[in-house]
Symmetry: C2
Subunit: 254 residues, 2 copies
């Protein structure tokens, strides 16, 4: 019999970006990283969106890294003056920011000698002891130091970096989900759904209302790592909804 008490792996994501906090930019990184961690058996427990402010970055990183197995950051590693993440991370770890020979080579290959100006060379600097994270889109690497993974903020580049490292991340049991969406407001199914949660305490059950074609609807989501148990709970959920003659929402809820 397998040991049931498998270790859980927890992560925090720190989004560094004035452009998110000002409302200028719609975040597209949280969902991608959250989903990607899920497939590795890593639970995203917290996201923080913070400004491009050195003191805030240092404090936040140092508060998070002893608390979680993994800390991911996005944003602030480009060539312009507002890109201060790498230096802040070096200060958080109490190490120097050094020019990384392999990062220089990657930039030289990408830009050619004439185009690699001082601003771009800034992207070759990483904290002492860091290892590079590949950037297959525009060459300037991210980096890992300790349990902190520092990535770009531009979604396409971040995604390439994350997809390149995620298979190396050690995770625990993978949490799967089953979802049923029905044209009922939450208030109709609340009692029965709560009873179901009590029957299956090891399955996390969430209820998410939405509006579809001007009708109130609700997605009922079951999540758990014991797949046999998850399937049993889902069958009970279907039975409960059928007993109320609930009309299913066929398309996926938003």
């Amino acid at each position: 019999m397998e040991c049931l008490m498998q270790k859980s792996y927890h992560a925090c994501l720190i989004i560094i970006g004035n452009e998110i906090l000002s409302g200028r930019t719609q975040d597209k990184n949280i969902q991608f990283i959250a989903s990607g961690l899920g497939t590795q058996g890593i639970i995203l427990r917290e996201v923080r969106v913070i400004p491009d402010d050195e003191a805030v970055i240092i404090t936040t990183v140092n508060e998070m890294r002893p608390r979680y197995d993994y800390v991911f950051t996005t944003g602030g590693i480009g060539p312009t003056h507002d890109d201060i993440t790498s230096l802040a991370i070096a200060k958080a770890f109490g190490v120097e920011l050094l020019r990384h020979p392999d990062a220089v080579k990657r930039l030289e290959r990408h830009y050619g000698a004439g185009e690699l100006n001082e601003a771009r060379m800034k992207m070759a600097y990483v904290p002492e002891g860091a290892t590079l994270i590949d950037n297959t889109v525009s060459s300037a690497p991210g980096f890992q130091i300790g349990n902190v993974y520092v990535m770009a903020g531009v979604p396409r580049i971040m995604q390439a970096m994350f997809d390149g490292i995620k298979h190396q991340l050690k995770g625990g049991a993978i949490i799967e989900s089953r979802q049923l969406s029905v044209y009922f407001p939450e208030g109709i199914i609340a009692k029965g759904f709560s009873d179901l949660q009590e029957k299956y305490p090891a399955i996390e059950m969430g209820s998410y209302p939405f509006i579809r074609q001007a009708r109130l609807a609700t997605s009922l989501v079951l999540r758990g790592s014991d797949i046999a148990l998850l399937e049993r709970a889902y069958m009970d959920l279907e039975e409960f909804i059928d007993s109320l003659h609930g009309e299913r929402v066929e398309e996926e809820a938003e």
Copy 2:
């Protein structure tokens, strides 16, 4: 001459929702609230996304409310068993969760007597001393207690709640922005843009790369509350970009 040292107002947003952390749901609330606060002269300094976990909600709210002028929360105030925000907020403030007579009336009007079951009546409970926040979409109110504003997580309902209260929020100087997007990678304009930042330290200058029609482009964003100064800095920025013969990106960057 006006006093230049106008008070700044700072806010924190707490998104309470397992569905965001699991990657199931794309967040749509951060940008709406960030933009709305901006128009009121309130600066969003931090966003935290946390799970539907009572202890975490209590700790987070109590950490944030002495630190910011305003704390906003979204999520977890519906009728189902996973809606635990109201009770957690009451515990954070050390008060009872009480049935609010006016909230009961609103629910009775909305549902009619026969439909107002026990689960729905749960939405009439708010912490002692809280005042209600109107919900023009589906009646069940949000609430305010101290400097904490508790709103629904469903974007359409949250938006109605926020739009109903935002004009009552006291703010400071309104920060405006000017933006110029150009078909240059960041590395080309980094040096001149940094010089411009040095010339105008009171203007916050950010650089945001993006890809448009398979070409690298960058949005240069200037932000500040001194509009005359902002316009001067923007004219200098235009001059700088024109001196490089930069091709403007006509459409708004993502």
